[in-house]
């Protein structure tokens, strides 16, 4: 039975699945029902060190950089409208391959051209992030985002990390920026060039 997370809470995935070592974060949202340009949500991941910044620009994983240098974090492909049942985009994290200098993997979503198209998370319905155990596809945790009236165009969904006892954990964040990718990447130390 997947643990349901609310903003600010964290859960031990190891407790739910004692042998878990690789997970897939599945992100989903509803197709736009009203008129206007479709919502194109893009998943991304940031492999972050002890200073709360990415280890390098190559550790910003997104549709144009699908795998981290160590192969630990992999982006699963770009869905441009939210069409289709189940997860619209995925990020896979293999904890066995993450180096000791990694503090956490931040999983985020940006609304592509959100600022230009005047779209924000306040208008996106039923956005969620869920964590699946790669070994058996079992859903371990889920975070349903309820962003009433949010003007954010980029959002940190969840963070994956090792807790003080070494267990694999996930924390629900649901916080972001009105400035889209620049706010998100800038804060996490990525040079967008």
């Amino acid at each position: 039975m997947a643990v349901s997370l609310i903003k600010g809470t964290n859960v031990s995935l190891t407790k739910e699945a004692p042998n878990v070592s690789a997970v897939t974060v599945g992100l989903g949202w509803d197709v736009r029902q009203t008129d206007g340009a479709a919502f194109d949500l893009d998943a991304s991941a940031f492999v972050v060190g002890q200073n709360d910044k990415v280890l390098s620009d190559a550790h910003f994983i997104f549709y144009n950089n699908k795998s981290s240098p160590d192969g630990a974090v992999i982006y699963g492909g770009d869905n441009r409208t939210g069409d289709g049942a189940g997860d619209d985009e995925t990020i896979r994290v293999d904890f066995a391959r993450l180096g000791v200098d990694v503090k956490k993997v931040v999983v985020a979503v940006t609304i592509h051209e959100g600022v230009e198209r005047r779209q924000n998370f306040g208008s996106v319905s039923n956005a969620y992030a869920r964590v699946l155990d790669d070994a058996d596809g079992k859903e371990l945790a889920r975070f349903d985002l309820s962003e009433d009236g949010s003007a954010n165009t980029s959002l940190i969904f969840v963070e994956l990390y090792r807790g003080p006892q070494g267990d694999i954990k996930v924390k629900a964040i649901g916080e972001g920026w009105e400035s889209g990718l620049s706010g998100l990447a800038g804060t996490l130390g990525v040079n967008l060039g």
């Binding site: 903003k7 600010g8 964290n10 709360d52 807790g163 916080e175 920026w177 706010g183 804060t187």
Partner: protein, 191 residues
């Protein structure tokens, strides 16, 4: 070498720092990185008798009642978390703590947290630590990140007497409803 505690752990301050008299309890957190209102965390302290209650309302030490008998002194209000190291501090002079006071509970609240939809789970890198004021040596630290969740008020730790020594315990217990219920819990009359 500072000791790092997890929730529920305790350490003897007297053993770690023999001759300890003045402790600076430091509270820190990161400035908000995401858009939205800054997190304004306020430290407070409650001087408690053996029954776990204050003697009177003056035993509630906070930004509007900073000095309690020269024993527990609040050092001032930081409204955003800006600045390295401790953002708010409470000084405790152990030799001046009245004999009937068995423990000093240190709490933190998010100012207007409920109104702003904020809770401790959203605050990054929050910690409480105890520093020996005579030589600035950090004695013990408790990082809240794992234990913080959906509340807007938290009892962070307690400085308490035990068999002739002073000890520190990491509590990390949240309180729903904020400072009001938290203070009432300790016997403070809340207006």
């Amino acid at each position: 070498m500072a000791i790092s505690l997890s929730k529920g752990g305790n350490v003897s301050l007297s053993k770690e720092a023999p001759g300890l008299d003045v402790i600076m309890i430091g509270l820190g957190w990161d400035v908000r990185a995401t858009d939205g209102k800054d997190f304004d965390l306020d430290a407070s302290a409650f001087l408690l008798k053996a029954d776990g209650k204050v003697r009177n309302d003056a035993d509630f030490c906070f930004y509007n009642n900073k000095d309690v008998g020269g024993a527990v002194i609040h050092q001032g209000d930081n409204r955003t978390g800006e600045g390295e190291g401790d953002d708010e501090q409470i000084k405790i002079v152990l030799s001046k703590v009245p004999t009937e006071i068995e423990k000093i509970a240190i709490a933190v609240t998010i100012h207007e947290g409920e109104a702003n939809g904020q809770s401790f789970g959203q605050v990054s890198n929050a910690f409480i630590r105890a520093v020996n004021d005579s030589n600035n040596a950090e004695i013990v630290r408790y990082d809240l990140s794992e234990d913080a969740s959906v509340e807007t008020a938290m009892i962070l730790g307690e400085v308490y007497r035990n068999a002739g020594e002073w000890k520190f315990r990491a509590v990390g217990q949240g309180f729903k409803g904020g400072l009001g219920p938290l203070a009432s819990n300790y016997g403070v009359s809340v207006g």
